[in-house]
Homo-oligomer: 334 residues x 2
Amino acid sequence: MKTIAIDAMGGENAPKAIIDAVNKAKKKMTNTKFILFGNEDEIFKFLKKEEMGQQIEVVNTTEVITDSDEPVKAIRRKKDSSMVVAARYVKEKKADALLSLGNTGALLACGIFIVGRIKGVDRPGLMPTMPSEKGDQGFNIIDVGANAQSKPEYLIQWAEMANFYAEKIRNVKNPKVALLNNGAESDKGDPLHQQAYEMLAKTDLNFIGNIEGNEVMTGKADVIVTDGFTGNAALKSIEGMASVLLHMLKDSLLNNGLKTKIGAALAKPALNSLKKRFDTARHGGAVLLGIDAPVVKTHGRSDERPIYYTLLQIDKMLDQHLVEILRERFSKSN
Amino acid sequence: MKTIAIDAMGGENAPKAIIDAVNKAKKKMTNTKFILFGNEDEIFKFLKKEEMGQQIEVVNTTEVITDSDEPVKAIRRKKDSSMVVAARYVKEKKADALLSLGNTGALLACGIFIVGRIKGVDRPGLMPTMPSEKGDQGFNIIDVGANAQSKPEYLIQWAEMANFYAEKIRNVKNPKVALLNNGAESDKGDPLHQQAYEMLAKTDLNFIGNIEGNEVMTGKADVIVTDGFTGNAALKSIEGMASVLLHMLKDSLLNNGLKTKIGAALAKPALNSLKKRFDTARHGGAVLLGIDAPVVKTHGRSDERPIYYTLLQIDKMLDQHLVEILRERFSKSN
């Protein structure tokens, strides 16, 4: 049986949304156990004892890491927090994977300092799966902020790990791997990106060269490699732009008189289908690749649905033995 | 009389769109002369001799720098190209400012190597004015790609120059200046951004601290400072996301049956008003700040309208003596 350790106290809708997602997921993931870490009084407000069965366990914890906590300090001081205790269960092999909606920095710290890195991986990278213009398939982008400073070697390792993820979890054949850079030509960028380009070209990856920011969302690449600082700025800029545009669109449609309102009502199914095509939930959460177990962050604002998909994603990572594959790969090269 | 040197051969719609814009602008800018550089046979296909009057002059050139030319080589080899000859006119004080829709890298090279830097400015930065969610006012972001590698001192100079631009050209009182970083706290980022933060906090600027990618388009800051690599990725990601979303929106509205089509037709004025609120043309082109004359790049795909606004923008930069103010400022500090 697989076991997922779940920080039940992280995120804006905790613990209810998390419990709802687990109750839904357990029916599909019949060979998986879910351990919920958190304040048991809070948890049992939403979890009925008769729902627990063999698949759900609750571990009472007395502290919570908040978004304003300084990550490394928090995991040292709040030793009985839901996130830290969940991470310890993974470290001690009492669970196979870790899910949290809480403080991203603290989850990174839990991954690195409690669960630990895969041997041979220099630095873990944070990797979401994003929807693209092309639709269903989406793409992976790594690193989007686990590292403020990067070396070319990190980028190569991230590319290799994300390539395995795209193949095994998203079923992409021979994933197209690209480097986010400030121009198409091979000599573009600063020394970090020039060197990363050269090194990527020498790997066995299906490296298609540089792509620029404006191509990120087109689906041209299945895996986009970037340093954590640039990746963070690019991803957040994309999210910000999408949010501003959709907000302005809504505002335009609602505040331009009756005729527009009627038009908006008639066009609503189309607007909803647009939303569906741009579904960020379906691919699950952002994976901290390079950690010695699946460690996944779902957005703090998530309701039940993205959490449910993240549970499916983790289940697939366990079924496909992704971490074992990465362990094997990096034990050879280092 | 002010004189603007115009590369009439750059961009997809050259020379027609450029000539149309000049013909429109000359009526408003009655104290300005426009010198068009390019193949005169081409130019006189669209420019009637009787339209020229006192305000338009044509200088015949025999070469054109294309987008695929390597910038520095191109400006060395194509000495009789429209862009290079126009830049030389500015250097020789036969013109006060330079406008091109051509190869951005070559225009940067013309600015740096032919026109020259303002004394005391280490590196020029490329700075567009972008529309924001807040509407009319927009914001400046610098550098968006003139420099692949940056030092903290460059960022401080860019912030100061952009601040003058926001004050004098966009009439923003006490512009709010922010640093694009990977978190809100003052210690966020790599050493480059940590140091830039410290230095910005010590200036007289109205420095409001770090902003993240998702806040770029909100209008929270009037001036956003960033290193050229990150700025390039963020800006292009924003443009790419906007283009993908609008494309998908259009597709959804047109390909979802008759009811949706009717709805879209009814809502069209609202959708157009959205487009207007997000008008990237009205603020003109991207300025190469730090060059010893206004050097402005307008998008290669521009039709008449953005070029017209760029001419107004350049006129205002000349009227407000922006370059003289920067010269004065940087002669003191260095």
